[in-house]
Amino acid sequence: MDDAVSTPVVDMVDIVKVFPGVRALDSVSFSVKSGQIHALLGKNGAGKSTLMHVLTGLYNPDSGSIRIRGTQYENLNTARAKEAGIALVAQHAKFVPGLSIAENVYSGMLPVGQFGFVDWKKMKRDASDRLGQFDIDIDVTRLMEETTVAERQMIEIARALFADASVIILDEPTAPLPKHDVAKLFEFVRRQRERGASFIYISHYLEEIFEVADHVTVMRNGTVAGSSPVKDITQPELIRLISGADVERYKREGSSIGGAVLEVKGLTRPGAYSEVNLTFHGGEVVGLTGLEGSGPGELARGLFGLETLGEGKVTLNSVPYRHGSPIAALQQGLAYLPRDRHGLGIIGIRSVRDNVSLSVLERLEPLFGLINSAKEKKLVQDYIDVLGIKTPSMSTAVENLSGGNQQKVVVAKLAATEPKMLILDEPTQGVDVQAKVELLRIVDDLSKRGVAVAVVSDELSELMDICDRIVVFYRGTIIREFRKDRDKITTAILLAAIEGETVETINAGV
């Protein structure tokens, strides 16, 4: 594909979108040409989803212009975006699982015969023909729930195409796919591209970009960090663009590592992790990383009692660890900062005060079982000051704070329980750069007060800045362990450990 000669089907110019406390899109320009597979990369919270929400009409931008197939759209909504030819294929395509493929293909426009009854024969024939046009050879009477994820994605793309879509957004399509289906999907996407369809391809897997995309745009902190034809860029350059090595960083200086706090021996949960041996020491910060689903997140949730822990030996301060519920975990001094801040971290409609004191109310109830209000306010104010939580007052609802300050509220709630072991699951996700730095400082401070800290993250540069040790998981087992004082640690080395094997298998599969 030659980028220069074809005209843009999507042309977004200077798009700005502001959420309270966060500039989600800061003057972003993005254009997709006809017959192009345009990869859109960036970390979680970089602005990819927001940009796509703007393009599909879910969000109205605060300023900027959107042209689709040459037409300027002022007030794009989801219906008009669809009409204009924008279609989104989500990772898990939306189908009615209990209906046949034919019915799903026709959803909402079933052919009706005489007497107003559905003409099943016509529907089957037409559905088969239509899918055939897109080289999908499949028995359309099968139930949707019996198809593979890859088949579903292809059917969804075909459905969008014959509904006259010209730009199809593929949001991390390959994450749930087995290797051989990835190749099949790529083949399919390339064929549709030859017919003039354009794709916006969102993925975390860099190898795929080089395999399938023509052009790549990288987003970082709500701006475009770089945009170039794929043939003119290398993988290390992409990594640098994505992680933004030039942004402000926090460096942890010096640490005094104490005795073992949490010891995990031979811990196995089928389907999550196996034979995990790990020791966390007081005053130490340990990074746990790996591909999504490779074990660290599962281990964190298992230890805190949100998921089952599995079989093995776990001790906390040399005492056997009672697992199974967050209540037990907190009682024993193990606190957990959830990855899903909105789902598990904050109680958005309640105040900063209510959130921060929530886990220590028992301690604040000395007189006749009534909460000592003065003591509570002091506790909350202390954390607001120490952690630098920016809030109009402690009675402000947490949902009105910025992402970074919401996260600090959760950290304050955990710190108030005075944990011995603190597990942070993607602590800097969805917060702005400044807040990231501050959160890392807080983590450092906590560890210097003797808390054993584990950070589960795929933000490699942050792990390198803050951790004394980085433990890499691959398919549920620990494959490498790096010590700051002993080993040379670079992003490339870590990435090799994290996805080294994945790269080989993908290449082998194609």
């Binding site: 959420f19 989600a24 967050p326 957990y336 949902e399």
Partner: protein, 352 residues
């Protein structure tokens, strides 16, 4: 933008503004509205309703419903009577002529048991709270009818009944023809006071708000959400029994339909008073405002001699108004409420 900052606060306290407006309206409409007797009547009517609303408020704040409380009220009131009266005509009962004090304790425990069963089915049985309490509403009402064969128990003027009727019947303080403070009103005020303290100043209450606000986050903060939910249903059951005992004394007889249809008024009062049906929001003081408003309107329309049919229509409209206010409250509180997809879509993890 500036003005909209005050809208949530206004919506929260709107109830007191409306109450004053409505009150003044009725004062001008009816000459007897602003008399000691009439005020006492309003408060007396508010007493039974208020106790049910306190129980309902606890349940609603956790994000659950208790539709069964009006039937619990009916069943416990009837059960208490059944225990204290003889089996011989003109009375109709169990014939055990239980000590009335024991009968009162028994019905409060019965209320607790009903609440526990409901809470157990919801938390351990993982059943939908709306349906479970709706089913319980039907079951208890049906049991009541089957048990009495539809016959009322009335004309009870012997001593054990006096004890049983004491709470709903007696006054704490009375100057004949001048002023009367019924015991029921004082008891209800006390229940509201205790409810307020529990909600605001006890760990228990704070945890209820947390559960209603975000149940999973509450659990991840070390709260035993299921246990708390069972506890609020037990509280709702006990308070419904207390209301039943009170109502029995006020009306002096037990009809099969005692408390029938009350639940609509209870829900309306709670919601008008600012208790969010989504859970996590609302105060006891607001709920009290809702109770007083509905009782005032009811009494005022009565004095204006508005037909009972129109009263129903007006009550229905009030419930709709309450839902409208609740919807506005959610709208003004939720950031970027344009699409019902908040920024969570952007910031929360996709794979979580």
């Amino acid at each position: 933008m500036q003005a909209s900052k005050y809208i949530p606060t206004l919506l929260d306290h709107l109830i007191w503004v409306i109450l004053v407006v409505v009150f003044v309206f009725f004062v001008f409409q009816s000459p007897v509205f602003l008399t000691s007797t009439n005020i006492t009547n309003i408060l007396t009517a508010a007493a039974v309703l208020g106790i049910l609303v306190v129980g309902q408020t606890f349940v609603l704040i956790t994000g659950n419903f208790d539709l069964s409380s009006e039937s619990t009220l009916g069943v416990t009131a009837l059960f208490g009577m059944f225990l204290i009266v003889p089996a011989t005509p003109p009375y109709w009962g169990g014939g055990i002529m239980l000590n009335p004090y024991l009968a009162i304790i028994t019905i409060l425990l019965t209320g607790a048991l009903i609440g526990y069963v409901v809470g157990f089915l919801i938390t351990v049985g993982k059943m939908n709270n709306f349906i479970v309490t709706l089913a319980m509403l039907l079951i208890l009402r049906g049991l009541m009818m089957a048990f009495t064969q539809g016959k009322p128990i009335s004309g009870l003027n012997f001593e054990p009944a006096d004890v049983y009727f004491w709470l709903g019947h007696e006054a704490l303080f009375e100057i004949p023809d001048v002023a009367r403070i019924p015991l029921a009103v004082v008891a209800t005020a006390a229940v509201f006071g205790v409810g307020h303290i529990i909600l605001n100043h006890r760990r228990f209450g704070r945890e209820l708000y947390a559960i209603g606000g975000n149940r999973n986050a509450a659990i991840a903060s070390g709260i035993d959400a299921d246990r708390r939910i069972r506890q609020v249903y037990v509280m709702s059951g006990v308070l419904a029994a207390l209301a039943g005992w009170m109502l029995a004394g006020r009306v002096g007889s037990i009809q099969v339909n005692l408390g029938d249809g009350y639940i609509f008024t209870v829900m309306a009062a709670a919601v008008i008073g600012g208790i969010s049906l989504q859970g996590g929001r609302g105060t006891m003081l607001g709920a009290l405002g809702g109770v007083l408003l509905l009782s005032t309107i009811d009494r005022g329309l009565n004095l204006m001699r508005v037909s009972v049919f129109w009263v129903k229509v007006i009550q229905g409209l009030i419930i709709m108004l309450a839902m409208f206010i609740d919807a506005q409250r959610v709208r003004y509180r939720t950031p970027h409420a344009k699409a019902s997809v908040p920024s969570a879509a952007e910031t929360s993890n996709k794979t979580a």
